[in-house]
């Protein structure tokens, strides 16, 4: 039995031991076991990322709107091409390939797509797909690579792609108004709004 009084030499030993135990308790190492912690965060983070910037939102909704104006098959080919090329742009960013003027490219995408919607320009698929695919690379390069530490890259990517696809779907849904004469005017007005928004972001990117 230990005695803890000043006259006993066990006291300093106990005190030292207590300090050592305290230090040891504060010394946790990485535990790789257990549940997939942070993975849901990865998905939600990816899901919320495309809707965190208005420049992305307007451009992605514009892709759906323009697709709806162009009708079949562009209505679904454009929203299929965009996520794949956006992912390609993200991959370019991840492997370290620089892309000059990313923010300018994003803003220009809104200007161009808005103008195309405003003018109700009916381009053939062989022209409309490359336009959308070209701008998608800028969007992917800028935002596909922003994974927060500790989150699952696969789920982040999944959330990012799903969110982008849903923005296109929103654009297509709004584009359904194109069936009615007054709806066509509304869509063209939406194109004007997208273009103005793009011009604002372009001005900010260049200033």
């Amino acid at each position: 039995m230990m005695k803890y009084d000043d006259s006993n030499n066990y006291y300093p030993a106990f005190f030292a031991c207590a300090i050592a135990v305290s230090i040891a308790m504060l010394w946790p190492q990485v535990a790789l076991a257990h549940i997939e912690s942070g993975e849901a965060g990865g998905f939600l983070s990816g899901l919320s990322h495309p809707v965190s910037g208005l420049d992305h939102i307007i451009a992605m909704v514009a892709v759906g709107l323009w697709g709806a104006q162009l009708r079949m098959p562009a209505i679904w080919v454009l929203p299929v091409a965009f996520p794949m090329m956006m992912a390609f742009g993200g991959m370019l960013g991840l492997i370290g390939m620089p892309l000059p003027g990313v923010e300018v490219g994003i803003a220009t995408s809104a200007v161009v797509l808005g103008a195309l919607i405003l003018g109700e320009v009916r381009l053939a698929l062989m022209f409309s797909v490359p336009i959308v695919a070209f701008f998608a690379i800028f969007h992917g390069h800028a935002h596909g690579t922003e994974l927060q530490e500790g989150q699952n890259a696969m789920l982040y990517s999944l959330g990012f792609v799903v969110s982008t696809g849903l923005l296109h779907a929103s654009g297509i849904a709004i584009g359904m108004l194109h069936r009615w004469p007054s709806g066509r005017i509304l869509i063209r007005a939406a194109g004007a709004a997208v273009m103005l928004g793009g011009l604002y972001f372009l001005w900010r990117a260049l200033s």
Partner: protein, 201 residues
């Protein structure tokens, strides 16, 4: 205090220092079979490829679906058993991602001329690769055949459900929705390739 007493105390202190824990396989609390099932359901890479294979089979019709639903789990089981006997855990993340990029792209393209047997062969190849990966991973953590059976049973059920949901789709927009899902799978895979090149994934 003598040196023996110090040694005992030092040992007691060191025993409290936590070390890195490399264990795994999600614990369902219901035994190894359900742990295996849960493992698959919580592995997005495996799920995306499985989903793409089943979507492709569904788009190509009932015969392709029947073949896929049989061939993919069988390959998964067979190569899983081979993987269980491997001495080291395989690291083929790039190949795994590439497999679902290809399957997703095929869903997006909806190739009408792709024969049914080719769809089943692609799904079987995907099952073989992931069976091998799962088997070697299970062996590395000391899990056994029962967990593998849980994984394979889930593969069978999911493939069956997804393919049977897609086969009856006749309306154009429904088939387009399936193709869009395939393009999303491919897009995720392309991004994953970037992450893998960074060593983040």
């Amino acid at each position: 205090m003598n040196s023996r007493a110090w040694s005992i105390r030092l040992f007691a202190v060191l025993a409290l220092v936590p070390t890195v824990a490399h264990a795994h396989l999600v614990n369902s609390g219901l035994g190894p079979f359900y742990d295996g099932m849960l493992h698959l359901l919580l592995s997005p890479g495996d799920l995306l490829g499985l989903l793409a294979a089943a979507l492709l089979a569904g788009l190509r019709g009932p015969r392709a679906s029947r073949l896929t639903v049989l061939v993919m789990p069988a390959a998964w089981l067979l190569f899983g058993l081979i993987g269980l006997n491997l001495s080291a855990s395989l690291q083929l993340a790039g190949l795994s991602v590439l497999s679902f990029v290809i399957l997703g792209a095929l869903v997006a393209l909806d190739p009408k001329r792709l024969p049914e047997w080719a769809v089943a062969a692609l799904a079987g190849s995907f099952g073989a690769l992931h069976g091998l990966l799962n088997g070697s991973a299970l062996a590395a953590i000391g899990a056994g055949v029962v967990s593998l059976l849980g994984i394979v049973a889930t593969v069978f059920v999911l493939a069956l459900i997804v393919a049977s949901l897609v086969v009856p789709l006749q309306r154009a927009w429904m088939r387009i929705a399936v193709r869009v899902a395939g393009s999303w799978v491919t897009a995720v895979g392309i991004l994953m390739m970037g992450w893998l090149s960074q060593g983040t994934a």
